[in-house]
């Protein structure tokens, strides 16, 4: 038994060694998603090429690709309502600090079929992998915490801020693939990081990263910038617009 586990360890070591021989080359269809007045979301495509050389271990199973997309980090609060007399109000809340406000898991088939649970955790394939571990908490708190975390995942998925798509990766050739990333219109502005892992026979061979920026441009950028950096001026102009439009309406529609 002991010899068997030693052998397995050695094999694992051998398997880990040649992974550096695989090269993963990535490129994105765009590095910048521009938000204009007609923006309703955007598609970004990642193209990847898995390069093999003589040191690569020949594998019987084809390469598989798993991608995650992380939007800008932010704080998300989940409230649990409780009864207070006849009304239901927030009884408990949990603040999830600094987690991706947009998160996507993209693959060609469900990730649970591609990698083991441990590897999935290592690759941070779930939004909860960005949260502190709960195993160290007292048992009663674990139940409450996991309820909050399940609610977080469910509600973020309903809002479209958590997107799991087992059809977004296309293997064009055994070593050439595309990943389609859909940025919803509601997703916040900021930096988006795509993490792409190449897996074969359940072993993670290579991981590479690429990023793109979602930002407002032109008029919308000017408005947002004015609202933030020249707030008094922005406020005066907004108030003036309200007065002028109100005055104009009175003038245009007066009947006396």
């Amino acid at each position: 038994m002991k010899r068997l586990s030693a052998l397995l360890l050695m094999l694992a070591g051998l398997a880990a060694q040649p992974t550096r021989a695989q090269e993963l080359v990535l490129t994105l269809s765009t590095r910048e998603v521009a938000i204009t007045s007609t923006y309703t979301g955007a598609d970004v495509t990642a193209f990847g090429f898995i390069e093999r050389d003589v040191r690569s271990v020949p594998r019987t199973e084809p390469f598989e690709v798993i991608a995650t997309v992380q939007g800008p980090v932010g704080d998300i609060v989940v409230h649990r309502k409780g009864q207070l007399g006849p009304i239901w109000l927030t009884a408990a809340r949990e603040r999830f600090a600094r987690i991706p406000t947009y998160f996507a898991v993209l693959s060609a088939r469900p990730v649970s079929e591609i990698v083991s649970h441990e590897n999935a955790q290592r690759l941070k394939l779930s939004l909860t992998d960005y949260l502190p571990p709960i195993d160290t908490l007292p048992p009663d708190e674990i139940t409450a915490q996991s309820e909050f975390r399940q609610a977080l995942l469910r509600l973020r998925a309903e809002e479209g801020a958590l997107h799991i798509d087992p059809k977004a990766v296309t293997m064009v050739r055994p070593n050439l693939f595309t990943v389609k990333v859909n940025v919803p219109g509601k997703a916040p502005v900021g930096l988006y990081v795509i993490n792409i892992s190449v897996v074969a026979e359940g072993i993670v061979l290579r991981t590479a990263q690429a990023g793109f920026v979602v930002r407002k441009v032109g008029f919308d950028a000017a408005v947002a910038d004015a609202a933030k950096n020249r707030a008094p001026l922005y406020a005066l102009i907004t108030a003036l617009i309200a007065v002028l439009l109100g005055w104009f309406a009175n003038f245009a529609f007066r009947r006396d």
Binding site: V73, G74, A151, I237
Partner: protein, 311 residues
Amino acid sequence: MQIYLPIAELPLSLFLLLGMGAAVGFIAGLFGVGGGFLLTPFLIFIGVPAPVAVATSSVHIAASSVTGALTYWRRQALDSRLGAVLIVGGVLGTALGVLFFNQMRRLGYLDVIITLSYVTLLMSIGCLMFVESIGAMLESRKQQRAGVAPVKAAPEKAWHQRLPFHMHFARSKLTTSVIPVVGLGTIIGFIGTVLGIGGGFLVVPALIYLFRIPTNVVVGTSLLQIVVTMLVAIFLHATISQAVDVILGLVLVVGGVIGAQFGVRTGQTLKGEQFRLLLAMLILAVGVRFAFEIVGKPPDPFVISTVEVER
């Protein structure tokens, strides 16, 4: 057609927003109210973040009350002296309101406070108006049968006249202490800023029932006060809360201006008590809609409220 809102940070249908502005404008024109109590909930309902909805509603209310106030100004149907005293309180209340708004937003209680306040405020005002207008309708029927109007004896000296710092408001036919007037302005300014409403539906009954001011100057005076407090609210919300979306405001105002004209025309065909009864029912309906959100077991006990993105 979708339009991206740069401060709310989401795309929404342009026609939906225009239609919403027009619908609220119609009701505002019909009843001579700002319509903020309908607009803010509408905006929150379609996905605009609550702070942006509240702050941007003040743009819509300011524009529509400018239109209204100008009309009453030309008809000499407003008391600018009384309005000025109300404004003193209103500005104070608005400043307090913005501070409270941001404190609650930071603590994460803003959504709950908005919902609870809407329920209590709309339900109580709606019920009062409902009972009052039914009473008035019965009264006018009785009078028609009896043929004589009962003469109500005015009280010698009302409670608000016993306070110090008297001032005479000629047009309102009122001599009273400025303390309750400033106080009323402060309360309305505070509530208006926190809830994104003008508060016309609070000021008008207060002036009529508490101070017995002639009805013909009440609406104009209330509109004058709303114009100024909402302009202050825009300024403070834009500088402190940074939640005023000028594009959203513009679209809503354009819709609102058009809707209001049809509302005013329809409103002229309604009788006073009918008018108040309809408004009471509308206010009650919005209150009930909000009450449903917090009364009874929610289908989903969990809710996500705040998403603050680090920049």
